[in-house]
Every structure is written in C-alpha cells, then in structure tokens.
Symmetry: C2
Subunit: 243 residues, 2 copies
C-alpha cells in the first residue's frame, strides 16, 4: 500500500502535462530466434498495455518518448521511429483506467485528466535485448517481453498499434540498416539471417544472404566464439563503426 502515494502523486500531475496527448511505444527486441514486444500490466488489475506515457509541458514529443523508453528499459540511446497517430473521437481509457483507480483505492471523477480522450502518438523502438534491464514503475504490476504472435490481450487499440508498428517496420526495413540495432554489438551471420527472416517472415537462402550482406561492405569480422558448441565455431561480426 505504500505505493499508493506514488500513484496518487501521478494522478495529480495532470497540470504538468499536455492534455489529451499520450505516447505509446512498441518496443521490439530479438531473442531466442523470435521477435518480442514489451508489455506492461496495470497494478492490481488484469489489464495489459503497451509502455506509454504523457508529454510534459516543456518537453518535445520525441524527448518524451525517449524518457518513457529509458524508464522501462534503462537504455539512453535508442533507435526510435514515429509511425502513426491514433486519434479516433472515442479513444478513451474508460474501462481499464477506471478499474485501475478503483482497485488501487483512488477516487477520481469523470472529469479527471486520465479519463479523458487521448490522441496517441505511436513510436516503435528497436533495442538490443541483452542490454535491456526491465524496470517496473509504481503504476504497473510487471513489465515483460512477449513473442509477437503470442501477445496477451491488450487494452483499447493497443493490439492494432502493434500491428501497425510491425507493418511499418517491415516496410522500412529494406531501406535501412535499422535491423542491426536489434542485435548485440557482435553477432554471427546466422543470427543476422534469422533476424531478417523473422522480421520479414520468410526463409532466405544462406548463400545469397551472405553474399548480399557482405557485398554491402558494412560488416567487419572479428575472431571466433562458441567454444561451447561442437564442430567449427562461427565467426563474429560487428557493424562497421563508420556506418
């Protein structure tokens, strides 16, 4: 119950924020050959949502998104892309937010800022899974990774937001090297290939993939690893520092 103070403080911080504007983040990570997304659960409820937040009066929108991301992942430098604004007239949190307040013993009337309509700016982030330290704030029960095809039910239009983010990521992938930000600093060629296969959701031929990536001349090769596994160890690569 000691956390209730923090929740109450948050509930009273409306005057510091831009009203009716929220930010929702689809945070992509890659682990165990799968594309994952972060989701949080509102404390003492069974409502799940995307990590999100609001914009302080004197804060830029992208700046706000970076703050929210850091609060959840502990990472300061994050690959971030705005992808869509969700602004239907009836976009309100009535059910989930009201229940959240009830369950946490907070009374708020219908005019409370948190229960208003919100226009949400969607950002997606690509993070190095191994560098993320999941952080749970005072409003949430937990913060977890989910396989993208196995997400729990999400509040409001958050499932739709994830789909739109994924679609945009796929479209933009071909034109950028952004996928590398999902990998650790060093990686094997087959890890890279699996990543591309996972995002694009199709198989690629190893030989052609290798040729294409190497011909782009953006990787440098380091020593070897996997002293653990049997047989030959794969090479490790790193994205060239000048790209």
């Amino acid at each position: 119950m000691e956390n209730n103070e923090e929740i109450k403080q948050f509930m009273n911080s409306g005057h510091l924020l831009l009203p009716n504007i929220s930010i929702d983040c689809v945070i992509f990570g890659f682990h165990d050959h799968q594309l994952k997304v972060l989701s949080v659960r509102f404390k003492k409820t069974e409502f799940n949502a995307l990590p999100g937040g609001f914009v302080y009066l004197e804060e830029g929108v992208e700046q706000a998104a970076r703050r929210i991301l850091e609060e959840r992942t502990g990472l300061k430098e994050i690959y971030l892309e705005q992808f869509y604004v969700f602004g239907q007239a009836d976009r309100k949190n009535t059910d989930s937010h009201r229940r959240f307040l009830e369950e946490n013993g907070i009374e708020a009337d219908d005019n409370h800022w948190l229960l208003q309509r919100f226009i949400s700016i969607g950002y997606y982030a690509l993070v190095d899974f191994s560098k993320v330290t999941l952080r749970v704030d005072s409003l949430s029960e937990w913060c977890q990774w989910f396989e993208i095809s196995d997400l729990p039910p999400l509040i409001m239009d958050h499932a739709e937001i994830v789909q739109k983010a994924l679609k945009t990521l796929r479209l933009r992938l071909d034109y950028s090297l952004s996928a590398f930000t999902l990998l650790p600093e060093t990686f094997t060629m087959s890890e890279l290939q699996t990543l591309y296969e996972t995002i694009q959701n199709r198989k690629l031929l190893r030989t052609n993939f290798q040729r294409k990536i190497l011909s782009m001349d953006i990787l440098e090769r380091i020593d070897k690893k996997w002293t653990g596994g049997a047989h030959k160890a794969p090479y490790l690569y790193r994205l060239r520092s000048d790209v």
Copy 2:
C-alpha cells in the same frame, strides 16, 4: 471590419477544441505540368502558412483533417495520408499569431489558447486541381496555389513540413496508385507520364512508361479529344472503376 466578429468568435472557441493540438495539411495539386501546394495568408499580415486547423472535442483527427480540407477546397472525398507529427517543445506561433491578432484589433493575453505550444499532425492530400474551388475563410487574406519549388516564406516549420510531405509522397508513390487522384477523371497518357516525372523529378522513356502502365491493366481507354490541336489526337484514359 465586419469580419472582426467572426475572428473574435473563433478566438473564443478554445473550449470546444482539443488544446495544444493542431493539424497542418499539405494539399498537392497538379496543373500546367507542375506540382502545386496550397498556402493561405493570415488576414492583414504578410504571414503565409499551410492550411490548417484544430480538432473539436468530439471529432476524430482524420475527420478534422477532412473538415479542414473541405473548408479550403470544397471537396468532400479526398485522398488523405497522415505522414508525421511535429512536436518540438518550442513549437509556438508567437510572432505570426500575435501579429495577426494585433493587426485585426483583437487583444489576447499570453495565456490565450492560440498562443500556446502546438503539436501538429501533418497530413498530405492529393486533389484533382480542376475540381478545387478555393475558399477563403474569415481569418485569411487569400488561399492560393504555389509551384512547389517556388513557395513563399512560410511561418514556423511549415516549409519543413512541406518537404517532409513531399519526401513521404515520393517514397509511397511506387507502392500505390495514389498519383491518379491528382488527375482529372480522364487524362492522356502523356499527362500521366508528366505527373510521374514531376513527382519523381526525373525523365522517363515514353515507350517503357506506356508499356509498364498498360501492363498493369488498370486503365480503360475512351474516345479521343484535342479536336483543337493539329495532327493526331491522343487517346483519353480513365482509371478502371474496380481498382
């Protein structure tokens, strides 16, 4: 001076609108072999801007964009795409809006809603130039087409907004048939080609262009026209109704 009433009424309509949120529209038209954009001038000032507006409390964001577009062009059905949100912390209209108020004899203090920071949602629209009826509202001196490479100075970041819209349009053009919405219902093949050349800013070979477009099987050919010009008249085409 009789319009001052309308301006005053608008200035007092803040309580009907979502605060701190604006919409800016880059309205593209194609005429005289050139890509054009609509700009408006604030009444009694020399400030030019993109056609824009605000979102009513009970109105969806896209719905608001369509309303704004109709107010300017008279068109109800418009091809519309959201492309970016501009949300820097210092995004304010101080100079231009304050001058606008002064020049129109309206006093407003620093806390007035119109002088606050605005997060602007950018939409671009593709319209049939020949169908547009330019409409000037009570706040603006005029509303005019400008060749895209010959825009007047625009307030705030509006020039940047145009560039971002154009860049997005170019990127998305290849994947969609959206360009056709810039043409009248019937058009010649060379008009279509010039349109693509203008947007992509490069020359195309007539023969290859023709072959490619026709092979897509999306056009139907009608009679002829140009009884005016000498020599053979070009065919007229129309986008097939089922695409």
